[in-house]
């Protein structure tokens, strides 16, 4: 087989895989949404306000309930101690 044909077949193969990946993200939604609905039900019943992403500090565990200057607890421009603090922006109303 010519090199060009090998290349075109390979590109077509990974191109199809790529398209299937995009399609599977849409087709798999229904099955995955059952789990999502269960999480939403739990959040509604327990009246949860935050996702459990970072458990290292109280203001990263519940960023929406945190003190006004969190994640910059000590003052607005202080260096962040916890790594996950660098993923969380200050509340929108304090952004400049």
């Amino acid at each position: 087989m010519r090199k060009s044909d090998q290349f075109l077949f390979f590109t077509a193969f990974i191109g199809i895989l790529f398209v299937l990946m995009l399609l599977s993200s849409r087709l798999g939604q229904e099955a995955a949404n059952a789990g999502l609905r269960e999480r939403a039900r739990l959040a509604r019943e327990l009246m949860l306000t935050d996702l459990c992403l970072f458990t290292e500090a109280r203001y990263t565990r519940h960023p929406s309930m945190a003190d006004l200057h969190s994640a910059f607890q000590d003052h607005p421009f202080s260096l962040e101690h916890f790594p996950s603090g660098s993923f969380i922006s200050p509340p929108a109303r304090y952004e400049r």
Binding site: S4, A40, E45, L46, M47, L48, R61
Partner: protein, 378 residues
Amino acid sequence: MIISLNRHRNIIDFALSSLMRRKMKNFSLLAVYTLIVFVIASLLFFVHALKREAALVLADSPDMVVQRLMAGRQDLIPAAYAEKIRSIPGVSTVTPRLWGYYYDPIFGANYTLMVPAKPTIEPGSILVGAEVSRNQRVGVGDMVAFRTSAHTPLLLTVKGIYPAASNLVAADLIIMSAADFQAMFNFPETLATDLAVTVANPREQATIAAKVVEALPDARPILKSEILRTYDSIFDWRGGMMVVILSAAVLSFVIFAWDKATGLSAEERREIGILKSIGWETADVLFLKFWEGIAISLSAFLLGGILAYGHVFFFSATLFEHALKGWAVLYPRFRLVPAVDGFHLTVLFFLTVLPYTAATIVPAWLAATTDPDAAMRS
């Protein structure tokens, strides 16, 4: 049509042979290129899926949470505040929430303790998240010893464990009765952590929040829209670690493009001169370089995208785990619902494939338009 196709197949044959002559260089280039696309795509997939999940899961969170501020910090709120808020027209329900944190000195983990709004659990029993059960090595029916604020042990029986599929909301949760919660923290019965407020008309939320502050000057209402916005701005590109990852990736692309755009090697220049002298047209040389660029950049884009999808949605973004875990002992392992934003992929395509291909063609065009004899001698 067939002639044109055959012409391109011949050019691709030559382009691949040309790439294979510098096998080591081009394979390492493809590997690094794929790695960069993989990192950026993983980040885009992860952040998009997480934001989508947050928006859907927290869509039914309380319309408003009212906290009490004391000396600039959140303080416990008197249950009597609930009556005042309930009397505001437009407020449907006000539910005191009892919740807090417990640091386990043995395992070094932080747990979130919570009392459900409806008394679904009897005193002496608890429901725990999957990660709490794993961390404490306990199953249903086992007893767990907690240390109360008076440093006396409190023994509670595990009545149920939330499935791992609920980790994104419940990994570190311990659900207990109000009596156990109050006994654990010596928590006064007349106080609550905060108040969850339901508003009949969602459009009145801001007005009711203003009325709450007017009636209770030390109260701090947090609207559902603010809760959702918190998760919309999480993993913002301006965040510390995001800037580091994105700037490293962008710099790598600049180095690639710079390497290509600063010109061809003497060997490549001589090759173009020879091709021109044996009858290749400038357009053929440009197609040759176009296919060389596409072979590297398109393959890297597709492979990087597929690997990133597998990494995020099948392997729970394990490479990001250490960064996300931070100093925490308890890390929620969760699988996100696959969701890919077409816009993000298009931007990634235009940022990765096009600049590299253009940077491959432009210097070749400059060399191809010069005299073949001069190109061969240079």
